[in-house]
């Protein structure tokens, strides 16, 4: 190889003083400004660790292939107690890393109370609270049971759950399943800690009528519903697959309707199911999340891999799990999202960040795919330029660009996927997460939506663990 080719023309990456990039632009020469900052804040010891951890590169390449190959399909609807692996009779699952009753925030406690009432373990909220505090109930993270749940993420044994199967080839981690409850809609709902009779009545209807109808419809589809395909299409239609799901929900409804009509004879049931889907823009979130989980779990346990396969919050703590570090959680106190609030509510009412839904950002959509969703740029400051910048920045901490989830506004560039702990530490850029905001008191529900950055400490702790394990 010689330098001759260079003489034909330069395309420059300008690392440093912007003046040089401006001068190149003025000459109509192609140039990209690189927003350089001292790696790891300039800490020589950290830089040495970063360099040693280049051993992770190959494992990351392997792991990202599994993530790229994942093909999550909605195959069935079952029940938590029957289908979720390891689900116990007196178990309640919750979002985020492990937590005890005492440390639970308002909305999570509210959702636990609601679940206890739903299961008939208590007659009223007070009794339910007492039961929860008694230690008789086992509280476990959804993530420990191949499950994810938005916001409080509470799953009780009798709840119906969607089953997502990864239909990738077996050698690329295919065959795994993930589970999630059906989405209840917005406003006063269990996942935001509301447990009033109307909330419980809706959950019962979902269990008694919605789930069986959808299951019947799914079972007459030739091979289930390809959720990867729906997410990919929704990104072309203005969703970012976390805070905006209207395109995906519509796509799912459109796809399911013929099968629903075929499988269910009672037209009144069809009407109610159709109305429910039509009135719930976020129905798809509870399919996208387990699809993301089924995809990301293929990376779990890949030795040497420094990519994050789960980011999650329980309303008190924020935690991440890293592929090369097994099941361990790396946690820190959850932060408060900054957002837009429904009338009558403000930032002071907001609960700390909560929910497994950051699995969407872990996949590379949600806040990472803001460039797809101009309709909701208010969450990131109000302009499409800010939305582009959010996505642009995430390319700095991810190992790859998705092959299938693409952004039309960026000439179909793939979304930033595969958050690399090393890159986060090197750049000091932390993942941007879109989220709903719960009221900090139980029983009230959603009060707004917004955006925030993942806290720094979990990544720093995970980095230390990577150093400990792999840089020797």
């Amino acid at each position: 190889m010689s330098a001759k080719k260079l003489l034909e023309g330069v395309r420059v990456a300008n690392v440093g003083v912007e003046l040089f990039a401006e001068s190149l632009s003025a000459q109509n020469a192609p140039v990209v400004q690189v927003d350089w900052r001292p790696p790891a804040g300039g800490d020589p010891e950290m830089i040495e660790h970063l360099d040693r951890l280049s051993v992770c590169d190959a494992a990351n390449d392997d792991a990202i292939e599994r993530l790229q190959a994942a093909r999550p399909v909605w195959v069935d609807i079952g029940f938590a107690i029957e289908d979720i692996p390891g689900m116990g009779e007196r178990t309640l699952l919750h979002a985020g890393p492990p937590i005890t009753w005492e440390h639970m925030s308002g909305p999570l406690k509210g959702a636990m109370i609601g679940a206890a009432l739903l299961e008939g373990w208590a007659n009223d909220a007070k009794a339910a609270e007492k039961l929860c505090a008694s230690g008789e109930i086992s509280f476990e993270p959804c993530h420990h049971h191949s499950t994810v749940g938005p916001m409080a993420g509470v799953v009780s044994p009798s709840m119906p759950v969607s089953i997502i199967e990864n239909r990738a080839p077996e050698e690329l981690g295919g065959g795994g399943r993930a589970y999630c409850t059906l989405n209840e809609g917005l406003g006063k709902v269990l996942r935001y800690g509301a447990y009033s009779p109307d909330v419980l009545a809706r959950l019962r209807w979902m269990s008694d009528e919605l789930a069986p109808a959808l299951r019947a419809a799914l079972r007459v589809t030739p091979e289930g519903l390809d959720i990867k395909n729906v997410i990919a299409r929704a990104l072309q239609m203005g969703d970012e697959a976390h805070n905006r799901n209207v395109a995906a929900t519509s796509t799912v409804a459109r796809a399911l309707m013929p099968y629903l009509a075929e499988a269910v004879s009672d037209t009144k049931v069809i009407t109610r199911v159709a109305e429910f889907l039509a009135g719930n823009d976020h129905f798809f979130l509870n399919l996208a999340m387990p699809a993301a989980k089924a995809s990301l779990d293929t990376m779990a346990g890949v030795e040497g891999c420094s990519l994050v396969y789960a980011m999650s919050r329980n309303g008190t703590d924020f935690g991440i799990r890293v592929a090369g570090l097994g099941d361990a959680w790396f946690t820190a106190p959850a932060k408060h999202p900054v957002g837009l609030f429904f009338p009558g509510y403000s930032q002071e009412d907001a609960n700390p960040d909560i929910g497994d839904s950051a699995i969407m950002e872990t996949l590379g959509v949600g806040g990472f795919a803001m460039a797809a969703a101009p309709a909701i740029v208010e969450f990131v400051g109000g302009s499409t330029a800010e939305a582009f910048q959010a996505t642009n920045e995430m390319y700095g901490i991810t190992w790859a660009r998705s092959r299938d989830y693409t952004l039309p506004a960026l000439d179909f560039a793939g979304v930033p996927t595969g958050i690399d702990v090393r890159q986060v530490i090197e750049t000091g850029i932390y993942p941007v997460i879109n989220t709903g905001i719960a009221h900090r008191e139980p029983g009230i529900g959603q009060i707004g939506a917004g955006v925030l950055r993942a806290p720094e400490a979990p990544f720093q702790k995970a980095f230390e663990a990577l150093v400990e394990k792999y840089s020797g």
Partner: protein
């Protein structure tokens, strides 16, 4: 005739994008037809109707992407199919840079993912951080231009060795000027395209030669900087030799011009040997060096100044060289004579105040050949010639204001001339100052009106010290954004004697000082 088919399960792509890919493939030589579409029943029917529905595609579903190519030969069909698949995820680079080019990329890797066509990384980050970043750039196959200084010798050698192994140029550290593919990088003048290829271990040296080439009507194929330390024995001219080899093979380069401060002995031998290997005419000029070394190599042409070197390169390429020959005309001589008669006797010293490091060196070389004892903060001869205090001149002194001690935490005086203006005033106020010699460097990257800023200082200085003779050179071309003629006129209007070349300015300064000695 051959049909090649691939079915990608569960891949979704926008139909318009797929149509574009189909169209691009269909239009290629040897291809009879191509399709990229989702396997919906309607699409499969369409495929069947156009005879492209191969057996493998018949089972495709609406969530499967079907790629089909019909070509004259089976190999073509397979190749095109592979290209089609690659096109699904390939970023578009046809129209300028990538889609995120108007945003700063968070990392170099991200920039490369956005625009895989990037072939050069330009670094202006703190010196100690350069090696790690530049090594990464080299591993990604990028040539490097390192503007940063304070890069350790060890790092420089490591980077240049690594670059050489990979066939990649490492220009710098401390490389301020390059001109590649018609584009100026760093501080660079706007020049016509032409046949002269410059290799320089000297930023403003390259610029002064470029300006002379331009004045003679010549043009540039390319200018590659190496950084001044490249020609030390420790580095051994690694980048300079590589650059000479590159330009030797470059079809657009007819004449080579090799510039710099004098290489150390071992490096000198290697550099001149490489230059002598070149089949094209090579002009070599080392500021403050001797011509003997150069003359000793057949085919190498020495010169007496940067400007003359530029002119010589033009004439070797078949052009005229007259405009670059530095000589004092009668008008200048008369002006100097008139000045020396009127001036105060106590004013007897030269004070040079420079923004360009190589020009500062050339001033020491040219003026120093008739006026001994010139000191500098950047002395040509390090063993005796250093100023006791760079902040205060004594005797004959020329100051390089681009030196680290003046620029730490501040922009270079070519970008912000204010500190240099202050120093001009300081020198003029010294009752022992006879001549103030200075440079104005134009071009890309430089201040938008350096002559204007400097002229204000001269006007002010001449009010309090009317006896001081200001002698200036303007390094620039008619194409530079500041405008060469206007910048010269502004300085002349302020009362400075403005020479055509820097060497000419030095000769004028030497003549003026000789007049003072004669009295």
């Amino acid at each position: 005739m051959a049909l090649a088919v691939r079915v990608l399960s569960g891949a979704y792509h926008d139909s318009v994008k797929l149509m574009r890919i189909s169209a691009a493939t269909s239009g290629r030589p040897g291809v009879r037809g191509a399709a990229a579409l989702m396997g919906t029943p309607m699409n499969l029917e369409q495929l069947a109707a156009s005879g492209l529905l191969a057996e493998e595609a018949k089972g495709a579903g609406p969530n499967d992407l079907v790629l089909v190519v019909e070509a004259d030969a089976p190999e073509t069909a397979q190749e095109e199919l592979t290209l089609m698949e690659a096109a699904l995820t390939a970023p578009r680079t046809s129209g300028g840079a990538g889609p995120l080019a108007n945003l700063s990329a968070p990392t170099l890797d991200a920039a490369l993912a956005d625009d895989p066509g990037i072939n050069l990384a330009l670094f202006s980050i703190p010196g100690p951080s350069v090696r790690r970043e530049a090594e990464r750039a080299l591993k990604k196959g990028l040539h490097c231009l390192i503007f940063s200084d304070n890069v350790s010798l060890e790092d420089e050698v490591a980077l240049k060795r690594m670059g050489r192994e990979r066939g990649l140029l490492v220009m710098g550290p401390d490389c301020g000027t390059a001109h590649i593919g018609g584009v100026g990088l760093g501080f660079c003048n706007v020049v016509r395209p032409g046949g002269i290829g410059i290799v320089g271990a000297a930023g403003t040296g390259i610029q002064e030669a470029m300006a002379a080439i331009d004045a003679c009507g010549g043009g540039i194929s390319c200018a590659l900087g190496t950084g001044g330390r490249d020609v030390s024995d420790a580095v051994g001219g690694l980048a300079m030799i590589q650059a000479i080899e590159t330009l030797s093979e470059d079809a657009a380069t007819e004449v080579l011009l090799v510039l710099g401060k004098p290489p150390e002995p071992a490096a000198m031998g290697k550099v001149l040997e490489a230059a002598a290997q070149c089949a094209k005419p090579v002009v070599a000029h080392f500021v403050g060096g001797h011509s003997e070394d150069i003359l000793a190599h057949a085919g190498l042409h020495p010169a007496d100044s940067l400007a003359e070197a530029g002119g010589l390169a033009v004439s070797l390429g078949g052009g005229r060289a007259d405009a670059a020959a530095p000589a004092l005309d009668s008008e200048t001589r008369e002006r100097i004579a008139g000045w020396s008669q009127k001036k105060d006797r106590g004013r007897r010293f030269l004070r040079g105040v420079y923004t360009g490091g190589t020009l500062c060196a050339e001033a020491q070389a040219i003026v120093g050949s008739t006026i001994p004892g010139i000191r500098s903060n950047a002395p040509l001869d390090k063993s005796h010639g250093a100023m006791a205090d760079p902040m205060r001149s004594q005797g004959h002194a020329v100051v390089d204001m681009g030196d680290d001690i003046f620029t730490r935490g501040k922009p270079h005086p070519m970008i912000d001339p204010a500190p240099r203006s202050a120093r001009l005033l300081q020198e003029a106020r010294d009752p022992e100052t006879a001549v103030v010699l200075f440079d104005v460097v134009l071009g890309l990257g430089a201040h938008e009106d350096p002559a204007g800023e400097t002229a204000i200082a001269i006007e002010s200085a001449r009010e309090s010290s009317p006896d001081v003779l200001f002698i200036a050179s303007v390094t620039g071309t008619g194409g530079d954004p500041q405008g060469l003629a206007g910048q010269r006129a502004r300085l002349a209007g302020a009362g400075a004697l403005v020479a055509d070349t820097h060497a000419g300015a030095c000769l004028a300064a030497a003549a003026a000082l000789e007049e003072t000695l004669d009295l």
